[in-house]
């Protein structure tokens, strides 16, 4: 039922996984496979490791999985195919067995109660195959067709195209109930609820917007763990066409002949940087990242303010634990003690190792609650030198401090025809058309690019002057504007750049060094 290309790759993976149990040092088996549903080729052992690591944590941590393919039209018995994966380790698919499709009868009404359906299927399989399944994955025929169409020529796609289409596929499969998982993993529930917030906004469109904010970079992410270090090489080059050129390469330290276990030393990172000729190398802990994402997917959507504060605290704590839980090469200049000392003489305290992770979310929400309100509509307009940049402006609907809806505004009468510098007229049009009185936030693409570049991709070059440059840009109406001129924005405009930087840093950075 699946596309041949998909099927042959999947079989290759199953064979590889099967072989692994028979050898003593599985990493010695060198065989390239393709990550399912992607055009990315990696070593079979790396894929095995990723499944072993991620599947139990994010999808299901028990053995034996049953795939069921259902018809979209039949009512009496919808089953078109049943496939059993007997797994010795959770997540490691090593063999597939096609079962007779009349082994289980599923009617239209059964799908409404997944719990009951699962129990029924589990007892049938247990009786007839003496195998206790721990989860079922249901694919509808339409879902399979969609996946097959997506897989067509998949290997020819560029990474940009793949990401764009992959996001669309996932959104469609989940939104239109073309796949079901039971027991429902948190990540599935999280995505399902998140797509509801996105309304009609396509995830791929959001990706396109975000991607356009990131200027060219070449970085290597090293995900370290006791068992296996994963080296991910990511390059992005802007092209004059619509698409950017992105390349992603996944390897292990062994592929680079680096005999290092666990946390990579600066020397090893330097070796990686030299070997891969990248601008920077970031060393991240697999365990910490997984723990963060598990916490994130555990959240209910819309995310309540208090929960959001907690996840934000964890994220900021992660950033502040530089050289403890993560590392970066070249070492950012801003961490240089002498530079920090000299800057502090001027009254500016920049120490990212002392980010107030415990206070920033509280202060941020207090500011938003006080001046934007507990309920608000925020119209986000992204511009490029005062021209509408994305053709899509976003209306963020907030209720009781939680983001409940993101609505794309494509109405040309409201935004495109209006001069972007006249935010007042945009608000009036909004009032007339929708009866909504939004707070308009206009941000220039260059400002976002600058912030992302300075604080993320080029952080190793960060100087106090770059922060001042960003603040200066924020103070200029052409780059950043809020309408109406709420007190926080008034303050930004009124205050001198250095005073503003000092005020912000006093909130962001802990006063005490030790």
């Amino acid at each position: 039922m699946f596309d041949n290309n998909f099927k042959s790759n999947w079989k290759k993976i199953l064979n590889y996984n099967n072989k692994i149990n028979l050898v003593e040092s599985p990493e010695e088996i060198r065989e390239q496979v393709r990550i399912p549903l992607t055009p990315i080729h990696i070593e079979g052992y790396l894929l095995y490791y990723l499944f072993e690591l991620l599947y139990p944590k994010f999808v299901n941590d028990q053995q034996n999985i049953l795939d069921i393919i259902l018809s979209d039209y039949d009512i009496e018995n919808k089953v078109l195919g049943i496939y059993l994966y007997k797994t010795k380790k959770a997540g490691i698919h090593e063999s597939i067995e096609e079962l007779p499709k009349d082994l289980v009868i599923i009617k239209e009404k059964d799908i409404t109660d997944m719990n009951q359906l699962f129990n029924m299927v589990q007892s049938h399989i247990s009786d007839k195959k003496s195998v206790k399944i721990s989860s079922i994955r249901i694919f509808t025929r339409r879902g399979i067709d969609l996946i097959n169409t997506y897989c067509d020529n998949l290997e020819k796609y560029s990474i940009y195209e793949f990401l764009y289409r992959f996001l669309d596929l996932i959104q469609k499969l989940i939104n239109e109930n073309l796949i079901y998982l039971f027991p429902e993993p948190n990540v599935y529930r999280f995505l399902k609820d998140f797509f509801k917030i996105l309304n009609n906004l396509k995830l791929s469109k959001l990706f396109r917007i975000i991607e356009s904010f990131i200027s060219s970079f070449a970085t290597v992410l090293v995900f370290y763990s006791r068992k296996l270090n994963i080296i991910t090489e990511i390059n992005k080059r802007d092209s004059k066409l619509n698409e950017s050129k992105i390349s992603i390469n996944l390897r292990t330290t062994k592929d680079l002949d680096l005999e290092v276990k666990q946390y990579l030393s600066n020397n090893s990172l330097l070796l990686v940087q030299k070997k891969l000729n990248s601008e920077s190398v970031v060393n991240l802990s697999q365990d910490h990242l997984i723990s963060f994402f598990l916490d994130l997917f555990d959240l209910e959507i819309p995310i309540k303010k208090e929960n959001f504060k907690l996840i934000l605290q964890k994220f900021i704590y992660g950033i502040r634990s530089f050289e403890i839980h993560w590392n970066l090469l070249p070492r950012p200049r801003i961490y240089n003690t002498l530079i920090r000392f000299l800057v502090r003489l001027l009254g500016i305290n920049i120490n990212f190792k002392k980010l107030s992770h415990w206070a920033i979310p509280d202060m941020f929400f207090s500011l938003i609650d006080t001046y934007f309100g507990l309920n608000s509509n925020i119209l986000l307009i992204i511009v490029n030198k005062n021209r509408i940049f994305t053709k899509t402006s976003l209306l963020l609907e907030i209720e009781n401090s939680s983001l409940i809806k993101i609505i794309p505004i494509d109405n040309p009468e409201i935004i495109v025809k209006k001069k972007v510098d006249s935010l007042d007229s945009i608000r009036n049009s909004f009032l007339e058309k929708f009866g909504i009185n939004p707070i308009i936030v206009k941000v220039d693409k260059n400002l976002i690019q600058m912030i992302i570049s300075v604080l993320i991709f080029k952080i190793y070059k960060l100087k106090p002057l770059s922060l001042l440059k960003v603040l200066k840009m924020i103070k200029k109406e052409e780059y950043f504007q809020i309408h109406p001129i709420l007190p926080p924005y008034q303050l930004i405009r009124k205050m001198g750049t250095i005073s503003l930087l000092k005020l912000c840093l006093s909130i962001l950075i802990d006063k005490h060094e030790f």
């Binding site: 107030s356 415990w358 206070a359 509280d362 202060m363 207090s366 500011l367 609650d369 006080t370 001046y371 934007f372 309100g373 507990l374 309920n375 608000s376 209720e399 009781n400 401090s401 007042d424 608000r427 009036n428 009032l431 009866g435 009185n437 309408h483 109406p484 001129i485 709420l486 007190p487 926080p488 008034q490 303050l491 009124k494 205050m495 005020l503 006093s506 909130i507 006063k511």
Partner: protein
Amino acid sequence: MNNNSSIAEATQVALIKSTTSKDAVLEGISKLGGISKFVKEGDLVFIKINLRNPGGFPTNTNFDVISSVISLCTDAGAKEIYVGSFPDQHVKIKALADALDLQTLFKKCRAKLLLLDDEAKYSQEIINLNNKEFKVPSAILRCDKIISINQVNVDPVFACTLNLLNSYSIVSNEAQQIKKDLRVGRDYLHLDQYKKDLISNILAVFMIKKPDLVINDLFYVLEGAGPFNYKDSNLKKTSFMVIGNDAVAVDSITLRLLNIDISKQDLLMEARDKKIGIVDLSEIKLIGEDIDKNKLDIKFCASKLEDVTVKNTDIKKGRLCSGCFNQAYHLLNLMKSKMTKDLKYIERQSLLIGEKPHEPEFLENILIFGDCAINSTKDRTFRKIVIEKGKNLIEKAKNKIKKEKKKKSKSKTKIISNKQILELPGCPPDILKCVSSIIKYYGKDEVPGLNLYYNLISTYVDFKKIEAKKK
């Protein structure tokens, strides 16, 4: 019987539940007989809203509700529609309107925002009430019809922000202040004379120009801490709106809906005793939803100051009036919301409130809040600290190096006044003055959160003027 039915006929209150606040207003007014029952062609209409400060919803009245009422008045043929209110202390309407861009917004709806505090533009009439002069803008007095739209939030003194309280801000905030008036033989604190005087003034001002249409917007209610957005605040969607022609009746239904015992609500009891409006349910014709089936479960403000838990802050309370309670409640919530970081730096502080508060546990960072607390603690022991006099540090160090045993010498002590005390005067104290005094006391570096808040307020409040007044 006939008499009763005619009262009921006159006092109608609509209790409406709907999917949007706009729909609730429209449905409520329609159930009361339509807008034409309240506004006639050619009328000058004044819409009294909540306009406290440039904060976000629900600090001020919901704009959706205001615009719906304005559009109804326009349809009814109102000649002019004015919107306005006096804001919180020290806040100028112009600054507030600029921050929220209200003038253009109301203009768009064909209404006009009145800058009531601009005496050069809007003349004021002096009205003598309760031996006090109240300046009321003539623009309001001249209007044919008054519509009062009130956002209901929890309130530390009156349980929730009632419509009667909304009507009080047709006079300036300065005029709303209650001056301590000690009467012979009457205990100001025990009788809570502050609250009595406040209620008396609220009702007197209300009687100057009673609203013709009253809307209590409970579609969203701020619960937990209010009426401003604080850290403990939570917005509860109830989908209800209470609308009527008698403010007292509307408030009475609102309180019942919120499951509050009316007999304990001094403001409404006083209104009933003075025959200002109808309080008893039997005399109100209720339209719409059944009140008994729709009681709301709302979390009200902390009734004791000790229940507002502020990190590293020890609250010592004496006898206090509602004025000090209200202001202390706001100061504590402000500390909790804006001083997250500051309170960790400060490590510990004591807040002494009311007459004869208990002794603080520590001798540092003692904030004495209000005249009663300041005057009644003048002779307290914490005001003085004992220090050792003439300590010879070099000699002490020498002894330590030589490891000589301490010579038992008579240590001389000196009593000096405790400098780690901050007095926050006022009866009750002014919160913004308190904020500025606390920043000066601790220093900007120690209170970055409060300093940020101060800078934000400075964008719409003239602190120089406040300081000059203080001097």
